[in-house]
């Protein structure tokens, strides 16, 4: 009896850890795509992005800045400062050609992924039809 209980506990903890890890990887990819497509349409500054993303997703506000920093270092964004009437000068992010390419690739990946998910959810394209 005790042995049985212990192993199911182990299993569920491991499973939860796996699910959390997968969710985080997934969220990370989703966040990247958000940021890339928003900046592709228009140059943005950091706080703007934080605000807009927080409207739709529950993310810690601290996650956006490291992401922007990393992508800038990788050459996906270029930055420039612009004076603002209301507050401190704002650092704007802009897509580089490399960033444009990356955005296209991620969008295609996302589209293909969500199409396939939709098919499975709606039961299309499976053998049990």
């Amino acid at each position: 009896m005790y042995y049985y209980n212990f192993s199911t506990l182990q299993y569920s903890v491991l499973y939860k850890v796996m699910v959390i890890k997968m969710n985080i990887q997934f969220k990370k990819g989703a966040l990247e795509l958000c940021v890339l497509s928003m900046i592709a349409r228009k140059d943005r500054y950091g706080y703007e992005l934080v605000e807009e993303i927080s409207l739709n997703f529950e993310v810690s506000e601290g996650t956006i800045y490291p992401l922007l920093r990393r992508l800038t270092k990788e050459g996906v964004f270029s930055t420039y400062l612009m004076e603002s009437t209301e507050g401190p000068p704002r650092k704007y992010y802009k897509l580089t050609p490399k960033g444009m390419q990356m955005k296209e690739d991620l969008v295609n990946e996302w589209n293909s992924f969500s199409n396939r998910m939709e098919m499975i959810i709606e039961g299309r394209g499976t053998t049990n039809e």
Binding site: I24, Y45, G46, Y47, E61, G62, R69, R70, E86, P88
Partner: protein, 182 residues
């Protein structure tokens, strides 16, 4: 936490980084606080939504070290990046340190093994001296030299792959730690 305390905590903890890097980062968070305050948010609430400043500083340092190891490959840089990961949680002790050490052990074994094989004719000479015995065994020893070369090349290749793999692994772990501390 007040804005001043929050920014001071981050600033204190990123002092290891180059000056212009530090300035850039502090400007970002300063900008964040100011823009948020313009929206009517309180400093306490802003600080809370950003998250623990010490963890943020540690993650900044980790990211910097990983990028450095990526752009300037060296054992020292990789080692520092691994150390920075460890500072972020006990889980990493097993999950990161163990593979790292295992990798070093395997690669060291390969190199030591290959050196031994490459030296085999010399070792044979030391063992047998210039005798008929030596002459008979010599071809085999020369064969072992060839074998040693293969192992050496394999070791070099494995080091390159292992280095890149370790960096990729550190990046994945960094994402996980950040997600966990949300």
């Amino acid at each position: 936490m007040s804005k001043k305390d929050y920014l001071t905590t981050i600033a204190d903890n990123i002092r290891k980084l180059p000056k212009d890097e530090q300035n850039e980062i502090m400007m970002e968070y300063e900008e964040h606080f100011e823009n948020a305050k313009l929206r009517g948010r309180s400093e306490n609430e802003i600080a809370q939504k950003l998250g623990n400043p010490k963890l943020i500083a540690q993650e900044i340092i980790l990211q910097y070290k990983i990028t450095k190891a990526e752009n300037q490959p060296s054992f020292n840089n990789l080692y520092k990046a691994v150390l920075a990961t460890l500072g972020l949680g006990i889980v990493n002790l097993l999950g990161v340190l163990v593979p790292f050490i295992a990798g070093i052990v395997v690669i060291a074994a390969l190199f030591i093994g290959s050196v031994y094989l490459l030296l085999s004719p010399l070792l044979l000479l030391i063992q047998d001296g210039f005798t008929a015995d030596f002459a008979i065994k010599l071809p085999t020893a020369i064969g072992l030299v060839g074998f040693g070369l293969i192992i050496l090349l394999g070791g070099i290749k494995l080091t390159t792959l292992g280095y890149r793999g370790m960096i990729a692994y550190l990046n994945i772990n960094r994402e996980w730690i950040r997600g966990e501390s949300k």
